[in-house]
Every structure is written in C-alpha cells, then in structure tokens.
Amino acid sequence: MRPTAESDTRGPAAEPATAEEAPTMSGLPLVQTVAPASRRVRLRDIVRSWPVARVITIRDFKVQYKQSALGPIWLVIQPLAVLASFVVVFDSVAQVNTSGIPYPLFALVGVTVWTFTSFSIPAGARSQIVNKRIIRYVDCPRIAFVTASIVASLPVLAAPLALTLASVYLMGYHLSLSVLALPLAIAWLLLLVWGLTLGLSAANVRYRDVNSVVPFLLQGGLFLTPLAYPLSAVPERLALVLSFNPFTGVVEVWRWTLLGSTVDSTAVAIGLAVTAVLVVVGWRVFARMEVRFADLI
C-alpha cells in the first residue's frame, strides 16, 4: 500500500513492501496517511514496484498469443515483411547509397529499432487504460504498468536483433569493436521509449486523444527517421531538422555499433539532448497526473 507517510514525505516506513517491514500484530502497525498531495510517486518506486511489474508482465506474456495460430513466430514475420518492403522501395526503386553496406543488412538495423518502437509505444500509451480495473479498485504502484509494458515488449526487440546479428555473421560481414557499445545503444532506445510512454500513458488517462495521435506519429516516424536510408544521403539542412527526431540519433548509433557505419555526431548530440528533455517532461507529467488516475480513468 502506498498512501503518504505520517511525516508527509513517503519514507520507507510508509511502505510495508516486504515481510520485515510489514506491520505485525505484535508491534504497533505503522501509520499511513492519505492526504491531499499534488504528487506522490517517487523515482525509487520504479524499483520498488518491480514485483507488481513482474506479475503484470507475466500476465501480458501469457495473454499475448492466446488464440493465435502462429504465436511467437510473428516476432520474426513482422520485421521481415517490413524489411522486404524497404528493399523494394529504397534499394530497387530509389537505390539509396549505403556506403558499401549490403542494403538488406543496412535496413535490418532500422527495422529492428522501428519494430520495437512501433510496438512498445502504443502498448505503453495504453498501459494505464488496460489496467483500469486495477487502478480503480486497488491502491497499487501505477508506475509498474509502464515498466511492465516495456519489459513485455522486449521480445519484439530481441527477435529482430538476433536476426540482425545472425545476418551480419552469415553474410561474412565483420563486427567491429564498436559492437561493445550495443548495450548503450539499447539503453538509449529503452530510455527514450520509457520517457515517451510515461507522458503518453498519463495523458491518455484523461485525454483518449492520445490513441489517435500515436499511430499518426509512428507513421510519420517511419519515414522521418533515417531507417531505410542513411542520414548522410539527406541534404545537410534537412538532416539537421531530422536530428531533432531523437530516433534519428538512436538509429545512427545502432548502425554504428552493428555495422561500423559512420555516425553523424551532431545528430547524436541533439538526439541525446531531446531524449533527456522528453524523459524529464514525461516523468513530470506522469507524476503530476498519477494522483488523479483513479478519478479520471
């Protein structure tokens, strides 16, 4: 339970999360206070709420492929279908210059990033709404639904990433030392998706307009992120504009770690700055709205 603690800051004493802290009949149980507050979720709740995120993730995994004939095989079919269309449009028709990297391999990295993004963002934006019954009837850490939506999306990232690594190996393409930075590239992507998910899921509780905005953003992002073409193929002015889309920096870094392609450092710097802003704004929006979720959902 999470009501605010007696001493107004929600200290550890306020949350009997573990057996040791839990009130017992032998001692006086801890006093919890429910009082007006403009925000009550803390950053540390992300870690503390992990048990809840875990059961929600397990639930979502179990439910995801119910009554589906192909089940998890879709994890591979989806990115391959997008890759095929990229090859047709950008390799056969537009013939973009990928500086010697085989086009399917080049595009597969972008497809990996975007498959995950276009799955995890809508799932994350819906995360509070789909758990509406829990929010209305139980006091539980709602930040856990955001965590769970991202963890439950990880197979959508892992499958095409495994496909990419296998392709790099099979095509005799050499991984350079930059592959050691892959965890950082993954972390950046996850942080960006988390920040967006926080803000969108909170806004969605009050304004279901989010459900209309997200597909449209993702559709634009598919073309306005250099997924199927390199940023270097874009005129300089326009490349600067595209850099303000933080996924531009992400995909540039991903291609650098996996394929050793050159990186536009301006795009990376701007992308990191935009990511930082989005994460801070997302967290603040979430924290401000979270206290009213049960009233508004």
Partner: protein, 271 residues
C-alpha cells in the same frame, strides 16, 4: 468471546489507538465529460471572452470525521450515490482527498469489486498471485496463504488451473473472498461484494468477517442487505449525500436509516 463494541471502542480511544481515523474528509469529483470536443470549444470560448471556467466540482464526501477502532466491524450505510464507495476508496488510498486526512494503522486490504484485479485469461491460481502482489504482498506471504485460500474457496484444484473467465460469477466471488479473507492485513474493506454469493457462502463469510475482528483486525463493511449488516457489524456510519447523518451502535444507526427511508417512501407515495 466477543466484547461489546462500545467497550472495545472506549478502550481503543483511551489508548489513542485507532485503526482508521478520518478528519474532515472531503472529496470532490468533476462532473460531466472530462474531455470532449464541446468542452474544448467552451473552454476556448471562456478564455477568449475572459470568463472563468464554470465550477464543476461535486463533493461526493463532505467534511466527514470518524474513527474506527482496532477489532471493530464498522458498517457504512446509505443510499446509492451517498458516498460510501468514495469513502472506502479514500481509506484504501486509491484516490486522494480534496481536503482532510485519513490515517490508517497497518495494511488495508480492499475488496471493492468482485474480481477487480482478476484477469479473465489467467487461471485461478495465477490470479491469486496477481491479486496478492498488486495488494503489496510478497511472494512468501502469498505462497503461505495460497493453500488456505484454495481450501476456503472450496473450488476444486483442477478448476483453479482453469482461466477465471470460465468461472461463474458466484465462483469468482468465492475466490475473491477467499483471497481477501486469507491474506494478512490490518484493515479489511468489503464493498457490496456478497451480493452474488449463495446463502451458505454468505453465512460462512459473515462468520469469517467476525473472526477477523476477533483476531484484532478492523473491518469496514458496505452493504444494502441490512440484516447482514446488523449481524456482522458492531458500529455503523450512515452517510447521506456526502454528509454524516448518524454514527453509533449498529442497531440504532440501521433503525434510524430504515425509519427515514420508510418515511421518504410514504412521503413520495402521498404526492
């Protein structure tokens, strides 16, 4: 051996011990659609014309103060929409008050709706873990309580391996009650959840709820079934349109409530 409620309450008050203490609790809700095109347009119009937004707050609970002692079965009674459920949500910390404060000693276990946290695709057993974890219990506590939950629900083990969407409403109610009654907490809230239970299970639950109080737990019980309320609870609060109408020993509160409803009925039938 049950001591009288007044005795328990007096002792608790002397010790300054309470299980739940609410002071000047007020909760206002917004009325109308929270977001709509019409609302967006009128908000823009109001801003352009420099008019303030019209007040939309509606106090569902209005300046409510009461105390519940440890080991007490406390009833909330009132007509539909009088504020009972809002009050229980405030005590459970699901929503925060607009003003005022509630203090609760220990963990609250709210059962505000049958199958509130059940996921229809998960099995009975998986739902036990889901519900327990969401309520803030750890795996050890849940594992310790699970055999008792299974036994109390009276649901066969092979049924507990079945998704709960195939359970009848009554079976879901059984499982929800078994979970709520067998997980450890200091304050239990039951909001109108015995409606679908059969008479026998209702009796079992009533006895179990009294047993909780005998073990020192506090129970907040909300129901329109007044005989059940009388048999389970020791004190009660009658809430009417957000205000406290009466608070005291259960017999007196229920009598007054019944009388007022009877009078309202005759009054309305005369017009």
């Amino acid at each position: 051996m049950r001591t009288s409620s007044e005795e328990r309450f007096a002792v608790a008050e002397q010790n300054g011990g309470y299980a739940v203490s609410a002071e000047h609790l007020t909760k206002a809700y917004e009325l109308g659609e929270l977001a709509s095109l019409q609302r967006t347009i009128s908000a823009i119009a109001n801003r352009v014309l420099n008019r303030g937004d019209p007040p939309r707050g509606y106090p569902a609970v209005n300046d409510v103060t009461f105390t519940i002692a440890p080991a007490e079965c406390f009833a909330l009674i009132g007509a539909n929409g009088s504020g009972k459920s809002t009050l229980s949500r405030l005590i459970a910390g699901i929503t925060l008050p607009t003003s005022g404060v509630v203090r609760i000693r220990g963990r609250v276990l709210p059962l505000l709706s049958v199958a509130a946290a059940f996921h229809p695709e998960l099995t009975g057993r998986e739902n036990v873990e889901l519900f327990g974890t969401i309520l803030g219990l750890d795996r050890k506590e849940i594992a310790a309580a699970t055999p008792q939950i299974v036994a109390f629900s009276g649901i066969a083990p092979e049924h507990l391996a079945t998704p709960t969407k195939r359970f009848s409403e009554g079976m879901q109610a059984r499982l929800a009650f078994a979970i709520a009654l067998r997980l450890p907490a200091e304050v239990y809230i039951f909001d109108e959840v015995l409606v679908v239970a059969d008479a026998e299970f209702k009796d079992t639950c009533a006895a179990e709820i009294k047993a909780l109080a005998d073990r020192g737990r506090s129970v907040i019980f909300i129901s329109h079934e007044l005989p059940l309320v009388r048999s389970i609870c020791t004190r009660g609060l009658w809430i009417d349109r957000g205000h406290i109408r009466m608070i005291g020993p259960i017999g007196e509160v229920v009598d007054a409530y019944v009388e007022s409803r009877g009078m309202e009925k005759t009054a309305s039938s005369n017009t």
